[in-house]
Subunit: 792 residues, 2 copies
């Protein structure tokens, strides 16, 4: 065998291109005669539209078209509900343009197309909309009030779905418990804030269209839009070029603007571009995280978790285009690495007059982990046990796999953990952290009057769901290898990880393997990059395709070199006869001769090419443990993160550097969610934090050095043994810091039950000596998030 790339932390193939400015993002696409669009958005979160007058806008210089709802005809019907679910009794989706009633701030009301963006924006301001403002549903608990306004007039209340699950018998477990503990926990709303906002260009070409879209799912978007417009799929090519961050919201299919830009390009027969500006991104791109849980655990005296019962409310915002995936993921993630035999869930999904919720990195998992880990801490506290000991007590053991939680996962398959070793995970984390030393230092600090705390949390993440992906692998006569997949990429390192998988099979250098992603013309089959699935599903498809190509290469080379295919080894870019290194051909020569001009099909199909698909039957379940050591200054509520340690198990690892990069990014986003990122709405559901001056993102100085280690429990569910790693970093961060802050501030009796926590809120808790989540609306007054409040 040649160098084995699998498992090596090699540098990324794509970085030279990206770092030298050759990345191509949607806004880099330009065409002669291209028109530019601006969206007229509602300044109200809830309002009836009495009249829209576009006459003045249409007459403005450079304005080519102004579209209202009726101009779209049947194309303005409610957009598809992407993931229907039996429990989603009242699914609702928005139309491309609002006709009668606006349901969240920034909803699109009209669409202006002009010679340039400036003219389009000016004309958008000149569109006169006569609104009748309505009282808004501005909070998820308020949504349940029978007196609350109704987001959707045709519904009896604001309840989109009720989700009830019962595993085992919680009541019986409670009856035999020594201890029952309850808690109320809240996670608030954030936004993914990708560096690149959404963007769309639609270009008429012949009797078809090419669209460049900053999307995570180009194939799905192509299929959906083609269906919506009644276009044959082959007349719509969707390209997701380089994408500057996705994190979930860009998997949404489809946004009003995707319909509007294509519609305008069709009508006007000219290229049309729309790039979301940052202000729009805060209201027009989907959001996540708002959820309130009431939790009860039943425990025996030795710390054994007998059962858990949670009632929770999930705020879906104004619509449910993505179904109820987020709360489903929360409730299926909640059990974590623990033997939870008796589990009752009652979830309520409500509509509010806030921007729509769809998955954002973690996609409900941080909520579930926050709930379970907080309760583990409560048990430890109540029983006077070490928090880690409680967790160890309840870990599923290595010989208990596959472990079926009894729940159906988001992919309609069982939530059945494929493999793992949670005790080893904990051992490794303890060793990485050097827990004994940390505890000694903590005590020493306390003696010095410093408040240091330790938090450790664990999670299991369902990743890599199907249905499937496909990969085409081709060896060129140049010896270069093409790997084409239908998924897009938003920085995950696909150009390298998939290249490593393929290079190993073909015995070529990883830099000679070129990955093409996100172009429906290159690979028109597939789903998308989300749910930590690309490495699992695409990676294994790439493996299978590369194996098929390698097999063919050995057959062709054997014919040319007059030996048996079993005697051919592929290494160093060559096909060699084993034991006779002088008898060899370059792999490029084999590819060239596999496509001979005479007798072309003697080798079956021409050339060295194969397409293979991989379709996992269920998700795979990576796991991890995070630990943080923090120091808090109780006078200022200023926090210093002294240590942050991650031990991660995503099965076999293709490229540890890339996995660690994913983890680091996830932790950074998690820290944002713990201390900085909060979308604050007032009682009119007006957004008070709609710029990066108000909505704070962690910068390099807020993100600590992250120490990582891996354990590997290969997945038995796929040939490569891999599990997903894209979301892992973010999942337990809130749970870890909650525990660490409580540990540090134990003398003050601080109880962390909400996320995020701004310094002002934490200061308040220190003063009050506790923390119960504020009731609906109450937190607004407490909320300040000026730049000066940033933790350092």
């Amino acid at each position: 065998m040649s160098t084995r790339y699998f498992g090596q932390p090699i540098r990324r193939n794509e970085d030279l291109r990206l770092l030298t400015g050759r990345g191509v993002y949607v806004d880099d696409i330009s065409r002669p005669d291209m028109l530019h669009a601006a969206v007229v958005r509602s300044p109200y979160a809830h309002a009836r539209i009495r009249r829209i007058d576009v006459a003045r806008a249409r007459q403005m210089p450079g304005v080519v078209a102004v579209y209202m709802a009726d101009d779209l005809g049947p194309l303005n019907g409610p957009l598809p509900l992407l993931i229907p679910h039996d429990d989603l009794v009242h699914g609702r989706t928005q139309s491309a343009l609002v006709k009668d009633k606006v349901r969240h701030l920034g909803e699109a009301v009209a669409f202006v197309v002009a010679q340039d963006r400036y003219l389009a924006e000016d004309a958008a301001e000149a569109v006169e909309v006569d609104y009748e403002p309505l009282p808004a549903v501005h909070d998820l608990l308020q949504a349940l009030d029978p007196a609350a306004p109704r987001v959707h007039d045709d519904m009896p209340d604001n309840v989109a779905a009720r989700i009830v699950r019962n595993v085992g018998d919680y009541d019986a477990a409670r009856a035999r418990a020594d201890l029952v503990l309850t808690e109320r926990l809240r996670i608030d709303r954030g936004t993914a804030a990708s560096m690149e906002t959404r963007g769309i260009v639609a270009i008429p070409e012949g009797d078809g269209y090419t669209m460049y879209v900053s999307t995570q799912a180009p194939v799905a978007l192509r299929n959906g839009l083609a269906g919506w417009f009644g276009l044959p799929q082959m007349k719509l090519r969707v390209i997701a070029p380089d994408v500057g961050g996705g994190f979930g919201p860009k998997v949404m299919m489809f946004y009003p603007e995707e319909v509007l830009v294509l519609f305008a390009a069709m009508k006007l027969r000219r290229p049309v571009k729309w790039i979301e500006d940052r202000r729009e991104n805060f209201v027009a791109t989907t959001q996540e995280r708002e959820q309130v849980h009431e939790v009860e655990v039943a425990v025996s005296r030795d710390g054994t978790l007998l059962g858990l019962y949670t009632r929770f409310v999930h705020d879906s915002g104004a619509y449910t285009p993505y179904g109820i995936q987020v709360p489903i993921i929360t409730l299926t993630t909640l059990p974590g690495p623990y033997r939870l035999r008796n589990y009752r869930v009652e979830g309520t999904v409500v509509y509010t007059n806030k921007p729509t919720v769809t998955p954002y990195r973690g996609a409900g998992r941080p909520h579930g982990v926050f709930v379970m880990e907080r309760m583990m801490d409560r048990i430890a506290e109540a029983l006077g046990m070490d928090p880690l000991a409680v967790r160890r007590k309840n870990f599923i053991q290595p010989d208990e796999f596959p472990w079926d939680t009894g729940l159906i996962y988001q992919d309609w398959a069982p939530t059945r953990y494929d493999s793992g070793n949670y005790p080893l995970l904990a051992d490794t984390l303890v060793r990485l952290l050097d827990l004994d030393r940390v505890r000694r230092e903590q005590e020493e600090a306390r003696r010095q009057g410093r408040y240091v705390g330790v938090g450790m949390a664990f999670y299991v993440e369902g990743s890599g769901p199907g249905p499937y992906e496909g990969v085409r692998v081709q060896v060129e006569p140049s010896g270069k290898v093409l790997v084409a997949t239908g998924v897009g990429t938003q920085g995950q390192g696909h150009f390298t990880s998939f290249a490593q998988v393929v290079a190993d099979q073909l015995g070529v250098r990883v830099e000679d393997v070129h990955v093409v992603t996100g172009d429906t013309a290159a690979m028109g089959w597939g789903i998308g990059t989300f749910a930590s699935r690309a490495a699992v599903v695409v990676g294994n498809a790439a493996h299978l395709a590369a194996q098929a190509v390698a097999d063919k290469a050995r057959q062709v080379a054997a014919r040319l070199l007059e030996c048996s295919p079993d005697d051919i080894e592929l290494a160093d870019g060559r096909a060699r006869v084993k034991g006779a290194p002088a008898r060899s051909l370059s792999l490029g020569e084999v590819a060239f001769r596999a496509n001979p001009l005479r007798g072309t099909l003697q080798f079956g199909e021409p050339g060295l090419e194969a397409t293979r698909y991989f379709s996992p039957q269920q998700s795979t379940f990576p796991s991890g443990g995070h630990a943080a050591v923090v120091e808090v200054d109780p006078e200022t509520a200023q926090i210093r993160v002294l240590r942050y340690c991650v031990v991660h198990d995503c099965g076999t690892v293709i490229n540890p550097m890339i996995v660690e990069g994913q983890i680091h990014g996830g932790v950074a986003q998690g820290i944002g969610g713990v201390f900085y990122e909060k979308l604050v709405f007032d009682e009119n559901a007006q957004l008070l934090t709609s710029t990066f001056m108000d909505y704070l993102l962690p910068t390099a100085s807020e993100v600590p050095h992250i120490e990582t280690d891996h354990i590997e429990t290969p997945s038995p569910l796929n040939p490569l043994g891999i599990k997903g790693a894209g979301e892992a970093g973010v999942i337990p961060v809130a749970a870890v810091f909650a525990q660490a802050l409580e540990d540090a501030l134990r003398p003050f009796g601080v109880r962390v039950t909400e996320m995020p926590l701004s310094p002002a809120r934490l200061w308040d808790m220190i003063r009050k000596g506790g923390g119960t989540p504020p009731a609906a609306g109450e937190e607004v007054g407490n909320e300040t998030s000026p730049r000066e409040g940033r933790q350092t």
Copy 2:
């Protein structure tokens, strides 16, 4: 079965798009910041370059770059010799830019890139080139003179190749002949003059390039350019969009400008466009047809052809990038439908200082047919036989197939006729023409002092050579069907013919089948559209792919409808249970359910899609007979074509309307070659006919009504039984008119031995009472081709 489209003269799918102006040609491609190129071309046919000074040009406003040979470094080496051949001892190809010596008029010397084409042209004029003019080789016979200048200094003479072939024993045949007849025949030079000239746009995209090229062979061009530039193929996408005529020269790979435009786009990292203007097209695009034959036939008294011996000279122009395909095709086509058992050929391929020769519609076949058919006429004349009787006497009979001529064809496979019925062809032509009546009318005319003549000629055309083509067929959930092939299209009706083949297998409407051609991103395997091969090779690949998709559709439908696949019929866009029409699914629904979101791979690969390749082992041999009735006014040499009849056998016919369109176009081009189209060069090899005012094309008023009929002898070599039809129309036209003119002008003793014949030349022949081909250079003085000379 549903409607069978195969064989139906249905309207073309592509016409609505093309007729409503939605065709996309290379010059329709535009990009922001696109630069425009102009080529500095030599005004001399043969000259040494002493010095090139681009300083002034480089400083002109708007000029971005001026490139000379050395600027290209190794990329300016001699371009690839596309089709090497053992007999081509001195193959020579040009470089992108001339460094030392110009070898034909208009050869590229420098390349100017500027903000627009006007500025580029102005700067091209400002490039100062110091030429030392050399005496030119201006005629193919002069090229053989030992005293002639040498086109390539490193060669001992101007002979590129000598081609000797012997079948049977010509000397023995001659020895036993009753009669030996000799003739000297000449066909002169023409140009394809496609409505769209060549054009190239190269666009940098990320770390790769997209090129739009008006080419007949996008895949081959992509492969070749990628190799030349050391680019991975996947980093170069070549698109042949709609192409306004190809006719052979656009299969050439690659032209200097293809290298230069891509080079400039790489260097400047901006899109670059070059569109050939008409004047350039006359010298920079390849040409064809110049050939002189000395012929001798050995005949027995009853008209049996015992043997044929030809010595010929082929003018390849200044280079041989396409090898010696044209003279090879001439000598293998020459035997035609006749039993030629003893055949000797001695061909000499010479270099001259004229534009390079590569195949142009017919590609050497018209020459071969002209030679054989002229000799058939000479035999008839010598023996006092009816010309048709001589032909019938020598026809290969229907029970003699496969008939092997003993020659290796252009595709290195035997020239082995697969099927045919030449006597039936003649019978059908006689019936279509109503020969007896025509002969009576001819006599009646003669009595009235009118000169009417009849010509009938026959040919066999090798068509549809390999190596292979591939087709991907996919049924979409919309029910529309995608058919992707790597070949380009230049108006042949691919969007319809291939659709018919696929529609039959899938039971869908032909207008629901969308064909995609000429985009290496859609299908990166294949060769190109030339040699009358697309219907044969692509058509059969489409058939096989559609069969595979239909099989899968039946399997999927059977699973869904709970029956056996054998019980499913595909018709009217549905999959139906035979005998239970209520149990059915639309084909789109079957496609959708063949790609389920759960259990995706239960049907193997997702969806209804298959790619299949077809690789014929040898060419297939269509045949035909043409007849013309002409009237000549001997006072003015004005000609009226009273009738033009074609009987054609291309095996089974996919769409007779399209085949007839091909025949009509071919005959029109043939008429151009007979009466109008002649490139006249002076003794400096300067072109005297470099505009459409001098080089005449037949217009609608010069092309007669063409009557067509078909016979069908299916090819046993492919599943569909088809043979090529693209070039058929042009092949025998010269032979037919030569015979008809002689027949009409018999009282004047006119002997037609050259093509084309301008009215002035014919008038001269009528006066002189005969016609032997003029010697080298001699014809120039006789040549006039003013617009007034056009025949009507």
